[in-house]
Symmetry: C2
Subunit: 236 residues, 2 copies
Amino acid sequence: MAAGLGVKAAPFTYVAHALAVAAAVMVLVWCISFRGGLAFEADNKNLIFNVHPVLMLIGYIILGSEAIMIYKIFPKLNHDTTKLIHLILHAIAIVLGAVGIYCAFKFHNESGIANLYSLHSWLGIGTISLYGIQWIFGFVAFFYPGAAPHVRRGALPWHVLFGLFVYVLTLATAELGLLEKLTFLQSSGLDKYGAEAFLVNFTGLVVALFGAAVVVAAVAPAHVEEPEGYAPIPVN
Amino acid sequence: MAAGLGVKAAPFTYVAHALAVAAAVMVLVWCISFRGGLAFEADNKNLIFNVHPVLMLIGYIILGSEAIMIYKIFPKLNHDTTKLIHLILHAIAIVLGAVGIYCAFKFHNESGIANLYSLHSWLGIGTISLYGIQWIFGFVAFFYPGAAPHVRRGALPWHVLFGLFVYVLTLATAELGLLEKLTFLQSSGLDKYGAEAFLVNFTGLVVALFGAAVVVAAVAPAHVEEPEGYAPIPVN
């Protein structure tokens, strides 16, 4: 299907990069300018929470997205090098995601807020667990020790499909997190139509479009075949 | 990519049907047993709200999902008949979705609650608009009057890709809606770890798995080619 789209992956990677920068700036403006900044230790526990959206979006989702697109960002790079970048970026994303989740628990525990009751937390824990399983499976099958060639060939489409499933779940979890936090703030009096509410909602829209660009970049081919009958006429 | 999975769509349609039944039962139990029932006119405005999740999940998402999978549910049916079912089911889904959205506005307006400030509402309005545009484009290009064959051939993969993008956005919007409503109820005192909270969260998980099954059913082929070298040996 993806090959039939007749588009190359490259332009979608450019769009994704631009939207990633936009989303990163938006979440930083939100957490620093509107919410007071970031801290691992603070009397104002909200500053500990603020690390959570920043790390989940920039560290976990954006780095993970670059890892997904890496084969399309550098289509001419040596395959083994690209694979190494792919697995290292995903590993960093998982670690930063885990630190981000730790900050959410730390904020809850130091503020007397209950843990793990919301759909955001359920999906989030489930998703990062699947992400880790996917990473281990990919490492063993495709990197070290590496499965037999026919097993790899059969496993690759499933690696891509399951990887994109987990990726879309991370995006959905991010949307849930943005809505959940904003709902808490609004029930504590934040203006429903104010600048901060619009910033957070637009961050959600940018993340959705970013994710769409990443998925298309992942499934679109790096090179498009010339359609039959329109191939360049050979010179000699 | 999808063809390389080596699986047929059929089993995924069965899984999707089973999960659709589960999700439908869960949202009905929630809105009727836990939330007091459904009504278009009532002094208890909450009953008007309750129509919203029921219509959005059963009418909009589940009917729309069946429309998406119809070519894989009946792979041997005449193509024109399947196409007609596809567009009629999608049309019914859009109408029921619009009625469901109307009930949310009606509940807000009759209860003095603000409209269209949350990410759920933004994504929801955006998604059903895109859904409608997709339907009109599909009707004109593939049904009546129908574009020229080479235009259809070029447009079909984009119809599938954009359709699945809109579909995943409807799923994300549903997850946001479940979380938003439950967050409101919990901030009004509903038990965070009670039966109702778990029912709603599990509905969210079932919807996510349902959506995954529908997407795989949509992209997997109706028939799998025999792998080369393993084709049945001709009799004569």
